[in-house]
């Protein structure tokens, strides 16, 4: 059965509805997506491994259960992809890196078990930057599967490290994909690929069974066609897991999908950050200004503001360097890092091993001070908005790992995602416009810790008044 082409760009909500009403079968939908994954996905280097046997088994089960009236919820029968740092029993989990290309685990990560319980259908493992950038990288080519190509312009990169996940959602190769974000790895590809990507609060989603690079900063989150879809998925993923040491306790503020529905009785006070980047593409600034106008027309208040100064970026970068040196200790000390693709990744671990324990502790003792500074902003504002990235997607050819200017890549200032990552804050990137060259722009919406509801509420409000998120490349 051949489905109309626009089927593959429908939202999770929409597809879940038609499956529930049995207007379409999960098997037909899954077969259609798998075919796109094999053809379009291969051209974009979007997947590492497809899981067709598992996908079709899950799709058949979903159809049988729905037919029998055993409906599991809005994700029942809906396909998805998962970044290849999440363990799936019976399939390779390569971490995007040559040294681990044959690695597999005999268990499912917690997020996979939750998706199985929800009746979702796994299409495959999404391509990624090697080790999610844990040992550093300087170009989009730093991957076992080559550079993930941007569906809006395949000569451009998707950004990373959830590079494949960004390409998959943008190109209609799955309705949503799970990514990870330690310092912008969901937010950046979401911006450059024109999709909605949510990085939840630290501890909101279990990381059990997923690769760690900086355990005090790693988070998993959904990338999808809309903020509403992100909310639907998060409602399934979120929840305490005793297997994750940093999982938010069950007694802490739970996440409820209903709290993301905007209401005219709950005004949103927005702070429009003006000092997060030294230089932003003027087209993006114009798009953010236009977004502010949309918010005001929708009843929100918007006020220009500055984020307080502090060594946020230094603390984020140092934390990642130091923790990754421990998590990849064996790879570094054995010399296995030589097999990594990126010249920076091949040697950076040796450097990071030179940090001392007092170096690490000093950073971690400054970190709560920075958290308090960041939290203070939310005494006045419900959410903070800014450009998600200072530019649109860049050409793959513009980043030669050997070029001297590229050597400072790990110092690139992705300020709002770095700040929010360090402080464990939730943030979403949503599409807010296009460049003259038809490359998407992203707007980041950041909220107080554990207040994903406010972030999603603002994003859903914006998307109820705009159509940027409904656009997709012609593929």
């Amino acid at each position: 059965m051949t489905l109309p082409a626009d089927t593959y760009f429908r939202t999770v909500r929409s597809l879940g509805d038609v499956l529930r009403k049995r207007q379409m079968t999960s098997v037909a939908l899954t077969e259609g997506y798998l075919e796109r994954c094999r053809t379009i996905g291969a051209k974009l280097n979007a997947y590492v491994t497809l899981t067709p046997e598992l996908a079709l088994q899950q799709a058949r089960q979903a159809d049988d259960e729905i037919k029998a009236g055993r409906y599991r919820g809005p994700l029942h029968g809906v396909p998805y992809a998962v970044k290849d740092l999440v363990a799936v029993r019976g399939y390779p989990t390569t971490w995007g890196a040559v040294p681990y290309k044959n690695q597999s685990f005999d268990f499912n990560a917690t997020v996979i078990e939750r998706m199985n319980e929800a009746g979702a259908v796994l299409l495959g493992k999404a391509a990624m930057i090697e080790l999610a950038g844990g040992l550093g990288y300087s170009a989009g080519t730093a991957s076992l599967t080559g550079p993930a190509r941007n569906p809006w312009n395949p000569e451009c990169w998707t950004c990373g490290s959830s590079s494949g996940s960004g390409a998959i959602v943008a190109a209609g190769l799955a309705p949503w994909a799970l990514g990870s974000d330690t310092r912008g790895s969901i937010l950046c590809p979401s911006a450059w690929c024109g999709v909605s990507g949510l990085r939840p609060s630290f501890g909101r989603v279990s990381r059990y069974g997923s690769m760690a690079i900086a355990y005090s900063m790693d988070k998993l989150g959904p990338m999808a066609r809309s903020a509403e879809d992100c909310a639907l998925v998060l409602a399934v993923l979120a929840g305490h897991d005793p297997l994750d040491h940093d999982s938010i306790p069950a007694s802490a503020a739970p996440f409820a999908y209903e709290e993301t529905e905007f209401s005219v009785n709950e005004p949103i006070h927005i702070g429009r950050l003006t000092n997060v980047y030294d230089k932003v593409d003027p087209e993006i600034e114009t798009a953010i200004d236009a977004a502010c106008h949309v918010f005001e027309q929708a009843g929100a208040t918007v006020e220009r503001c500055e984020f307080p100064d502090g060594p946020f970026e230094e603390a984020a970068e140092l934390t990642i360097l130091m923790e990754a040196a421990s998590y990849f200790e064996h790879l570094i000390q054995s010399g296995g890092c030589k097999a990594l693709t990126d010249p920076l990744g091949q040697i950076n671990g040796y450097v990071s091993e030179q940090f001392s324990a007092t170096d690490f502790l000093h950073v971690q003792r400054v970190r709560p001070m920075l958290q308090r500074l960041a939290n203070g902003m939310f005494d006045r504002y419900t959410v903070l908005i800014s450009a998600a990235q200072p530019t649109a997607a860049q050409l793959l050819s513009s980043r030669d790992p050997e070029h001297p200017k590229v050597r400072d890549f790990h110092l690139d200032r992705r300020a709002p995602d770095g700040v929010s990552s360090l402080c464990g804050l939730p943030a979403i990137s949503v599409p807010c416009g296009f460049s003259e060259k038809r490359l998407p722009f992203g707007m980041q919406i950041m909220g107080r810790a554990l207040n994903e509801a406010a972030v999603l509420r603002a994003a859903r409000l914006y998307q109820s008044h705009t159509e940027w998120h409904q656009q997709h490349p012609t593929i």
């Binding site: 502090g310 060594p311 230094e314 970068e317 091949q346 040697i347 990071s352 400054v366 050597r407």
Partner: protein
């Protein structure tokens, strides 16, 4: 002597730090032999003691992993060490008191 400062009166802005870092991270070595035998010049913006720490760490890195590295890589790791030192200097400018706990938790598991 470092003066204690709080984050409320911080003078190190992210913008200033990055501008300085981009300028200071370019370490010019005259030749590959200089990377190993001659003392490389102290980059601008790094104190003498911080540069001493960079050199000490570089020497240790070469002692442990030198055989694995090409001459170009030896030069490159020195650049990265210098950049890391710049970031550490920024963090260290915030004096922590005895009562300032780390963002690390140890949980009891009954």
């Amino acid at each position: 002597m470092k003066t204690a400062r709080s984050l409320n009166d911080c003078e190190v802005s992210r913008r200033k730090f990055v501008r300085n870092t981009v300028g200071a991270a370019v370490v010019t070595l005259t030749s590959a032999a200089a990377a190993q035998q001659n003392e490389p010049p102290k980059p601008e913006g790094l104190s003498a003691s911080d540069w001493g720490e960079v050199q000490s760490r570089w020497a240790n890195l070469l002692r442990v992993y030198g055989e694995r590295l090409s001459q170009r890589e030896k030069k490159r790791v020195l650049e990265i060490l210098t950049t890391n030192e710049q970031m550490l200097a920024s963090i260290r400018s915030f004096i922590v008191q005895n009562s300032d706990a780390a963002a690390l938790t140890f949980r009891l598991t009954p």
